[in-house]
């Protein structure tokens, strides 16, 4: 039987938190920061367990302890808080602890303007793990993503035994829309399948998918060793033994090796187009409108909305290789995603429509396409 429509006015924060919990996240550590405060507020109502931390370093440390103990923790922050978390995110990455960090971007640098949106943190995310390793970064582009992609973030964190960043912006998490909540896709709950064999448990011994099986600290069956330092498969600190370095190399490859399982994007192909618009996050809606208008005007344009930003899915390269001109729409001054994909010296066929202090509008994009 079809559900009767239930159209409501809701902000994106509510959808994100509801989805994260339905997907299996069970604990939230919060520290107030604009524009992520609505996420914190909803989390305090919805998560099975919620604690207010005294700062963002503590936030990530508590989350790591919770995760090592077998829980699925979440936090929500913005750049100033995230900057404090970075060493601990590196730790969680090295320890291979599943968790989700919702990063709501705002205008920087530094404290910038807390109530103004931005897309300025992608370069930081690309280089935040010492050694250049990458953790999965998924980016919400619309209200449907608030539900589906949030759940995917939990699923990916569990499946890859890794921290995942769910990237969004002030203009997403603090904006309200009418939606039919009965039309939202049902969410599958992700559970951590812990190591269950009688054989000795080796915490960092990975299978073919390069993901080591998880077992929580404190279990009664096997000793569990978890460490942030360079370590062998047993989780024992090593200087630079062959086994320990092999473990770090595995860690480097893990996110990319499993990338197909969490590659998400929308591709609107216009068969005769020689221009491709690429966008993500809060700029994607303007890109959709601009491309629709351009196509109505007879100017054929294809559109790629990237939802898995990092590591960069190879399919993006395949798509982009088909176009003579590529226009990146991202709300920053320096074409951050374009530079991640094409390097510091952008080729002449790569263009950027950027902005700070206000969202990129459809007309900003349309003017470039005409």
């Amino acid at each position: 039987m079809e559900n009767k429509p239930k159209v409501v006015l809701t902000d994106a924060s509510r959808l994100i938190i509801e989805s994260l919990v339905q997907a299996g996240a069970d604990s939230f550590i919060g520290y107030p920061i604009t524009p992520a405060n609505l996420l914190y507020y909803y989390a305090s109502k919805r998560f099975p367990f919620m604690m207010p931390a005294p700062d963002e370093i503590t936030t990530l440390q508590w989350m790591s302890g919770l995760s090592a103990a077998g829980r699925l923790p979440v936090t929500a922050t913005s750049f100033p808080g995230f900057a404090l978390m970075i060493e601990s995110v590196n730790m969680a990455f090295m320890m291979e602890l599943p968790m989700v960090i919702v990063l709501a971007q705002r205008l920087g640098p530094a404290t910038g303007t807390a109530t103004c949106g931005a897309q300025g943190d992608l370069s930081l995310l690309n280089g935040m793990i010492s050694g250049g390793h990458q953790l999965p970064v998924l980016c919400i582009s619309d209200f449907n993503d608030c539900t589906s992609l949030s759940a995917e973030a939990v699923k990916t964190a569990v499946a890859l035994r890794t921290p995942v960043v769910l990237l969004t912006s002030k203009e997403m998490v603090m904006t309200s829309r009418s939606i039919d909540i009965n039309e939202l896709e049902p969410i599958e709950t992700s559970c951590i399948n812990e190591y269950s064999s009688e054989e000795p448990y080796i915490p960092y011994l990975a299978g073919n998918n390069l993901v080591a099986e998880f077992l929580h600290l404190g279990n009664n069956k096997h000793q569990v060793r978890i460490t942030a330092s360079t370590h062998d498969n047993s989780g024992i600190l090593q200087h630079s033994t062959e086994e320990a370095l092999a473990n770090t190399i595995r860690l480097d490859k893990k996110s990319a090796h499993n990338l197909e399982s969490y590659t998400h994007f929308d591709y609107y192909l216009e068969p005769k187009a020689d221009t491709l618009v690429v966008s993500y996050g809060i700029s994607a809606a303007a890109a959709i409108e601009a491309c629709e208008l351009a196509n109505e005007e007879g100017k054929q344009v294809s559109l790629l909305i990237s939802k898995t930003l990092l590591p960069v899915p190879p399919v993006y390269r395949d798509i982009m290789s088909k176009y003579k001109k590529i226009v990146f729409c991202e709300e920053n001054l320096n074409a951050q995603y374009a530079r991640i994909l094409f390097g510091e010296f952008l080729p002449s066929h790569i263009q950027h429509i950027g902005s700070i202090g206000k969202m990129i509008s459809p007309s900003d994009i349309l003017n470039e396409l005409r």
Partner: protein, 421 residues
């Protein structure tokens, strides 16, 4: 051999106090009848941290100075409540991670923190820490430390830890550790040692007991009778969607095109709430709606603007470059929207009578929004908006206000009477 250690030869310099702490920890746990997998040892960076490879317990080895916070996370999340969490940390680690220690004390987290206080940063070359006694020589203070020393036990006690103790790490201190381990809540033990690598070298001939006595840190045991923090994972919480009531949606809409509207006034005057009422009424009228708020960081000061799009069709981009309708209830709102008002090509500006409208192609109508009081200007503006545009009905706005917190004091009749002026 100890059932908790996998070797009698631990990875420390000869004579290092860390060796004794590990062995007495092990002995105390044995005395308590615990098994290795009943214990989770959390360490961090510093010489003490290399012990985790020697323990047969669960081990977690984190960042410098963060083992207390990391251990707190484990204590909060542990699935087997009776498991014992023991945190090892050095005096340098306590210095950088002092907040974590105070937080664990304040919350009275159920774990034991053992501070290996050898008066300096041993792993990095013997630098002064926040727990270095005055007069003690280190690599960075070879003529004696001149900086005051934290009294970490007093701090933790005052912050609320159930149990704090300190003593010189010489002789058999198994019983003292066992006493701390048996505490339900946060127990903190500070053990004084001398780093054999740097402490002895820079302080030749000085005895540990003498250094401790001179620093005024006599043996103490401090207690707070407080319940231990209990982490409760609720088995069920209500869906965030359960807040939404069923509302009847009218299918007949009068708009063929989207209307981009700005409602703007001063922070603290209910602009966002009024905008939310309008957005919900537009949904009930069968439209798609977006509501984008804009305001300064400070609460209750400056402008407060809400951009609302009401559309018969799906809305993607929710920004407003050129508005169709602007409603201004105060000077703050006017200043913030001057550029957009000037950009209107064919639209409507409803503006408070106290304000001068800027040059615009909009149809300008002055209305006395503020005469109803600062708190009701935005709501009154909604009623005028309904009357002028008929996108939603005045009756619907009136009913919505009657269901809001402003129901009692809002001057409904006065507003409706003023419609005809």
């Amino acid at each position: 051999m100890s059932s908790f250690l996998n070797s009698e030869h631990l990875p420390f310099c000869k004579g290092c106090g860390h060796d004794l702490i590990a062995k007495h920890t092990s002995a105390a746990l044995e005395n308590m009848g615990l098994k290795p997998l009943d214990v989770i040892i959390v360490t961090d960076i510093g010489c003490h941290g290399i012990i985790d490879a020697s323990f047969k317990t669960h081990t977690l080895h984190g960042l410098h100075g963060r083992s207390v916070a990391l251990g707190t996370g484990v204590a909060l999340g542990k699935k087997e409540d009776y498991k014992k969490v023991i945190v090892f940390i050095g005096d340098g680690g306590v210095t950088i991670g002092l907040q974590h220690l105070l937080e664990a004390s304040r919350l009275n987290i159920d774990m034991t923190i053992i501070i290996h206080n050898n008066f300096l940063y041993g792993m990095t070359g013997g630098q002064t820490s926040g727990l270095t006694p005055v007069g003690f020589n280190t690599t960075t203070s070879p003529s004696g430390n001149t900086f005051a020393q934290y009294d970490i036990c007093e701090l933790a006690h005052k912050a609320g830890a159930a149990y704090t103790s300190r003593f010189v790490g010489i002789g058999n201190f198994t019983d003292k550790l066992e006493e701390a381990f048996r505490v339900k809540g946060c127990s903190i033990v500070e053990i004084f040692e001398v780093c054999t690598g740097y402490g002895v070298k820079f302080n030749p001939g000085r005895k540990l007991r003498e250094i401790v006595e001179n620093s005024g840190k006599n043996d103490i045991v401090l207690k707070n009778e407080r319940p231990s923090f209990e982490a409760i994972f609720k088995s069920e919480t209500s869906s965030l969607f359960s807040d939404f009531k069923d509302t009847e949606i009218k299918e007949e809409t009068s708009l063929n095109e989207p209307v981009r509207l700005i409602l703007s006034g001063s922070a603290g005057e209910g602009v966002q709430s009024a905008a939310s009422i309008l957005a919900k009424l537009a949904i009930q009228a069968g439209y798609n709606v977006t509501q984008k708020g804009s305001y300064p960081v400070t609460v209750g000061v400056g402008f407060s603007t809400s951009e609302i799009i009401i559309s018969p069709d799906e809305i993607h981009y929710h920004g407003t470059t050129i508005p169709d309708i602007v409603i201004i209830t105060s000077t703050d709102g006017l200043k913030h929207n001057l550029k957009k008002i000037k950009s209107i090509q064919a639209g409507l500006l409803l503006i408070d009578t106290s304000l001068q409208a800027p040059e615009t192609k909009a149809n300008v109508k002055h209305m006395d929004f503020r005469s109803y009081g600062d708190k009701y200007a935005a709501l009154a503006a909604l009623m005028y908006f309904a009357k002028e545009t008929r996108i939603i009905t005045v009756e619907a706005v009136e009913n919505a206000i009657k269901s809001s917190r402003s129901a009692e004091k809002f001057p409904f009749e006065k507003v409706k009477n003023d419609f005809n002026k």
